[in-house]
Amino acid sequence: MNGGQDLGGMDGFGPVVPEPNEPPFHAAWERRAFALTLAMAMPGGWNLDMSRFARENRPPHDYLSMSYYQIWLAGLDVLMKERGLVAEDEIAAGHSLHPPKPVKRILSAADVAQTLHRGGPTERETNTQAAFKAGDTVRAKSMHPLGHTRLPRYVRGHVGTIEAVRGCHVFPDSNAAGLGENPQWLYTVRFDGRDLWGADGDPTLTVSVDAWEPYLEKA
């Protein structure tokens, strides 16, 4: 979706403000919101792409005015309510009021280290051939799906060069919509800064995105 999350190339946000000796969390609730979000994915059964869509799928003015972990919480809220795992009256009461939904597994303290170490690799075996190879010239398609996608607006319609073939990976556009992993070839595509930003752009700049094959066409 062309939402508030797709920030590349926007103006007016002001300078980047680094914080010296920044802690990982800035409030106690951020710690719990972070951990709840990670832990709930197992009983909830959603995937990373569904999580990302749940976070970005809101009015841009909301997305841009919420803090990072507020966005996480809002995304978690959507995912849980979609599945009937929790209801608003329960959160308001601060207690469970309805019987829990049966869930396959929950994350136990003993399993945390192993679960994090395993992670969630997205590369998949395939017997298809990659359509492009390093050095090929491609165009990022002009596409504006209403669902989740990972092709940022600032490269759409622009011509770039395949820099690397990264293997066949879970396709977020399908996976976020619950349509299965639908693995597709993934490429690092490099664009010239002046092609993206015009003649006034930094002549020393090149920018790459990682783009799945359905995002690209021959140029």
Partner: protein, 209 residues
């Protein structure tokens, strides 16, 4: 911003009260329903607050500086080479290491969310997830570098990697001059988090106190 508990409490009882209360209620409800084990939450928090952070990445970089064969393996296939040092897993399943040289400076961003190589850098700082960085890193990286107090020669090539998929990028910064013969441990002290994102450079020996 300080990291002590007193500060956290001030924060909670002012503008964040509503969120704080909601998270507390949510945790209670989810625990009562048997969906979460609060002890698992504690372990998750402790992992990313105490164990996983940019010191991991600094060890990888220092090893690459000290050991040319390791550097070659790291640049060829980052994930297994980083695994040799003991780091792997969530948000670092597919790591690509990109090398800074006098001709080329690499910078990493995620314009669409906050993708970041957790096993080697920990959780991303607020600025990395913020609109100012995500918007401008791809269009005006030299301006962003200026916000970090970094100015590069006008002819240095700037290469920005937007992490739009599950590939995670780690910058291998240039080894500072005057560090010949240093141990990996001593070298690691020169490697800053920002130098591995590309918004900073490694410290020089004279920067160490």
């Amino acid at each position: 911003m300080s990291h002590d508990h007193h500060h956290d409490h001030d924060h909670e009882h002012s503008e964040l009260t509503e969120t704080q209360l909601r998270v507390r209620a949510l945790e209670t409800v989810l625990t009562e329903k048997g969906y979460v084990d609060p002890a698992a939450l504690d372990v998750l928090i402790e992992t990313y607050e105490k164990k996983v952070g940019p010191r991991n990445g600094a060890r990888v970089v220092a090893k690459a500086w000290a050991d040319p064969a390791y550097r070659a393996r790291l640049l060829k296939d980052g994930t297994p080479a980083i695994g040799e040092v003991g780091y792997a897993g969530r948000q670092g399943e597919h790591i690509v290491v990109v090398e800074n040289t006098p001709q080329r400076h690499n910078m990493v961003v995620c314009t669409l969310c906050s993708c970041y190589p957790w096993p080697v850098l920990g959780l991303p700082p607020v600025w990395y997830k913020s609109a100012p960085y995500r918007s401008r890193a791809v269009s005006d990286p030299r301006g962003v570098l200026k916000d970090f107090g970094v100015t590069l020669p006008q002819d240095t090539e700037i290469r920005v990697w937007d992490s739009t998929a599950e590939i995670r990028y780690l910058v291998l910064p240039m080894r500072p001059a005057g560090t010949e013969g240093w141990s990996e441990e001593k070298l690691a002290a020169l490697v800053t988090r920002d130098s591995m994102i590309g918004t900073g450079l490694a410290k020089r020996p004279e920067d160490l106190t």
